[in-house]
Amino acid sequence: MGAPASISRISPERGSVLSFLRQELRPKGKLLTTFNMISIPIMAATAVILFFRFSQGLGSVTNLNQEFPWGLWVGFDVITGVAFAGGAYVLTFMVYILRMEQYRPIIRATILNGFLAYIFYSIALLLDLGRPWNVINPIIGNSFGLSSVLFLVAWHFLLYITAEAIEFSPAIAEWLGLKRIHRVLTGLTIATVIFGITLSTLHQSGLGALFMMAKPKIHPLWYSEFIPLLFFVSSIFAGISMVLFEGGISHRVFHDRLTPEIKQSHDRIMTGLARIAGGVMFVYLFLSALNFLHGRLWQHIVSGWGLWYLAEVIGLVAMPMVLFVVGSAKNHKGMIRTAAVLSLLGIALNRLNISIIAFKWYAPVHYIPNVMEVVVTAGVICAEIWVFRWIVLRMPVLSASPAWARRQADVERERPNVKEVAA
C-alpha cells in the first residue's frame, strides 16, 4: 500500500526500543508555524498565571467571588468542553453498535479527541479546585458523598477516561508494534464502548443535574427540571458539530498523513453527520418547545432576557439545524461548516447561560471573567492541541494502520455474531 514512509516501519526489536522512542520524541515538522507562534506565548503566560494561582489563591487570578463560585474555568472548560467532547460516544455508538461502517475512517481521531478533551478538562477542573490535593477523597472513600451529583460525575469522568484510553489503546500498540497486546486490547473494544456510552449518557446529563439545586438562582427561561435531558440530547449534536469542525481542520492540516480511505470518504461522512446533527437538533428543539409550554415561559419572553433566550434557541439552534439539513441535501460543504460553527456557539452559549450569564441574573454586580481566566482557558486548549498533534504525527490515527493490524481487524469484523456471544 502507499502508506507514508514514516509509519510503515517494522516493529522495533527489543534492543532498539530506546532508540525508537528517542527518535519518536524528537519534534516532527516545522517549529515556526503560525499555531506555534501563537500558542507558545499563551502557554507560557498560563504557566505564570498558574504559579500565582497556586501560591496566592484563586482570588489573585480570577474574578470569582462569594456570589459567583463557578466561573469560566468550570462553565466553559468543563461544562461546555465535555459537551463538545460528546463526539466520541456518538461516533462509537454509530460505528460499533449500529455498525455504520462508513464512519469507521474517522473513529480513531474522534476517540483521541474525546480522550484528550476529558484529560485536559479534568486538568482545568483541578486548577479550579481550591484544595486539589483532596481530589482523591471521593475515590479513596474519605468520604463517599453518595447523594451528590458531583460524586457521580467525578467517578464517571474517571471511568470514562479509562474507557476511552482502552478504546484508543490499539493505536498505541500499533505504534509500538506490540502485536499480541494489540489483539487483547482490540478484544476489549466492544465492552468498553458499551460501558463508555452508558457513562456518557449519565455524565452528560449529570452535568445538567448539577444545577438542579440552583433553582432560585437561574433565570426561569433556563432553569427547568428537564435540564439533564436537554444536556444529554444537546451533547449529541454538540459532539457531532465538533467532529465536523475539527475534522475539517485536521483534514487540511494533516493532509499528507490521511489515508486514501479518509480522503475519499470525507465528503460523504460530512453530509451524513450533518444530516444526523440536524435530526437531533430537531428533537432538541421539540423538547425545548415542550419545556417552554410546560413551564409557561412565555411570560418571561418579552424582556431583554427573552430576546437573549430567543437568540440562543432560534439563532444558534434552529438556524444551524436548517443549514445542516439543507447543506447535507445539497452537499454544500460551506453550509455544513457554518452550521457546525453556529451550533457550537449555541451550545457554548447555552452552557454559559446556565452556569454564568443567566445565573444570578438579579445580582447588581455580575461576574465577568478577567483576561487571566481567558488566557488559562486558551492555554489549556493549546496544550491539548499540542498533544493531539504529537500523537497524530506518530500513531496511526489519521494515517493507515500497519498491515498486520489491518489483517487482524478484518478477521475480527467478519466473525459472525454467534461466536461472539458464545465466547
Binding site: 462569594q66 447523594s147 451529583v149
Partner: protein, 293 residues
C-alpha cells in the same frame, strides 16, 4: 465474558446511586429532634454583641464597620464574619435582623458535597470538615441562602460558615451568640419545642407578629427559625424558595441513574446483535442464537 463484566460494574455503580436518596430521607426523620435557634426579630436591639461573641468564639477577626453608614448598608456574611446584624428600613420603622447559616434540616450543601465535608450533625448544626473538602464550591452554588463562603485569597482555602457552635453544643453549652445576647432575642432548644414557643408567641400577641415562622417550611425546614413584626421580604429574606427540601430537586435524576446503568448496556448489546451479520452456520449455532433471543 463481556456481559458478566457489565453486570458486576452495573451492580456496584447502581447500588451507590440508589443509596443516595435513601440517606437524605433518613436524616429528614430526625429533624424535629435536633437543636436550633428561634430568633424573635421584635426583641433585637441591634447592639451587635452577637457579632462580637461569634468572632471571639470562632477565632475570627473582630467585625470592622463604619458606625455612620452601618444602618444604611446591608452587609453580607463573609469568610471572616459568619454572623451579621443588619438594619432594614421597613413599614414598621427600622428593624434589626441577625443572619447566619440557617442549618437546614435537609441541607442542599451537604447533599451537594461529594466528600461529605459538609455534614448535617445529629445535634443539628451543619459543619464543614477541612480534611475532606476539595474546594469545588458546589455547596456555594447549591445553597439557597448563599451561606458558604470561600477563602479566595488563600493558597489553602477553607469554606467558612456558621457552625452553630457545634463544639460548644456537644459539651452541653448553647451557641455563643444566643448566650451573649443581652435582650434575649434568641432561644436555643429542640426544633419542635422552638416551633411551639413561636406559635404561642404569635397566637398570644395578635398584631405584634406576622403569622409566619420563617424556616418552619422554607427549603424543607431550617434549624434557625424567625418570627417578625413585619413581612419577611422587607427584611431581606427570600420568600420564593419553596417548601421542598433542596436535595429533592436532584432526586428524579438520581433515581434514573441505576435504571440507565442497567438498561443501557443491555439495550446497546442487543442493538449490536440486531445490526450484525446473520450467521450461516450449523444447527448448533442457530440453537445458541435462539437462546440469546
Amino acid at each position: 465474558m463481556e456481559r458478566r463484566e457489565f453486570l458486576k460494574l452495573v451492580g456496584a455503580l447502581g447500588a451507590t446511586a440508589v443509596a443516595g436518596p435513601e440517606r437524605a430521607e433518613a436524616s429528614a426523620t430526625e429533624l424535629e429532634d435536633s437543636y436550633g435557634v428561634l430568633l424573635d426579630v421584635s426583641q433585637c436591639d441591634g447592639c451587635r454583641t452577637c457579632e462580637l461573641a461569634c468572632a471571639e468564639t470562632n477565632g475570627l477577626p473582630e467585625p470592622e464597620y463604619d458606625e455612620d453608614t452601618l444602618d444604611e448598608i446591608v452587609r453580607p456574611t463573609s469568610e471572616t464574619q459568619w454572623s451579621v446584624v443588619n438594619c432594614f428600613d421597613t413599614s414598621a420603622g427600622d428593624v434589626y435582623v441577625k443572619k447566619q447559616c440557617m442549618h437546614c434540616s435537609t441541607p442542599a450543601c451537604a447533599s451537594a458535597c461529594l466528600t461529605k465535608a459538609l455534614l448535617k450533625t445529629e445535634e443539628g448544626p451543619v459543619i464543614w470538615r477541612e480534611d475532606k473538602c476539595m474546594g469545588c464550591r458546589f455547596c456555594m452554588l447549591s445553597c439557597p441562602f448563599d451561606v458558604p463562603k470561600f477563602e479566595y485569597d488563600s493558597a489553602n482555602p477553607r469554606i467558612q460558615k456558621c457552625r452553630m457552635c457545634w463544639e460548644r453544643q456537644i459539651e452541653g453549652e448553647m451557641p455563643a451568640c444566643v448566650e451573649e445576647c443581652p435582650s434575649d432575642a434568641m432561644v436555643f432548644g429542640k426544633r419542635s419545642e422552638l416551633l411551639e414557643i413561636a406559635r404561642e408567641r404569635i397566637h398570644q400577641n395578635p398584631g405584634d407578629y406576622v403569622s409566619h415562622i420563617y424556616g418552619e417550611h422554607e427549603a424543607g425546614g431550617t434549624g434557625w427559625l424567625y418570627i417578625s413584626p413585619v413581612p419577611f421580604e422587607e427584611l431581606g429574606f427570600r420568600t420564593d424558595l419553596g417548601e421542598k427540601a433542596y436535595p429533592e430537586y436532584v432526586r428524579p435524576f438520581l433515581t434514573t441513574v441505576p435504571v440507565v446503568l442497567i438498561m443501557w448496556p443491555a439495550f446497546l448489546l442487543a442493538l449490536r446483535q440486531a445490526t450484525g451479520p446473520v450467521a450461516e452456520e450449523t444447527v448448533d449455532a442457530d440453537h445458541t442464537q435462539q437462546m440469546e433471543v
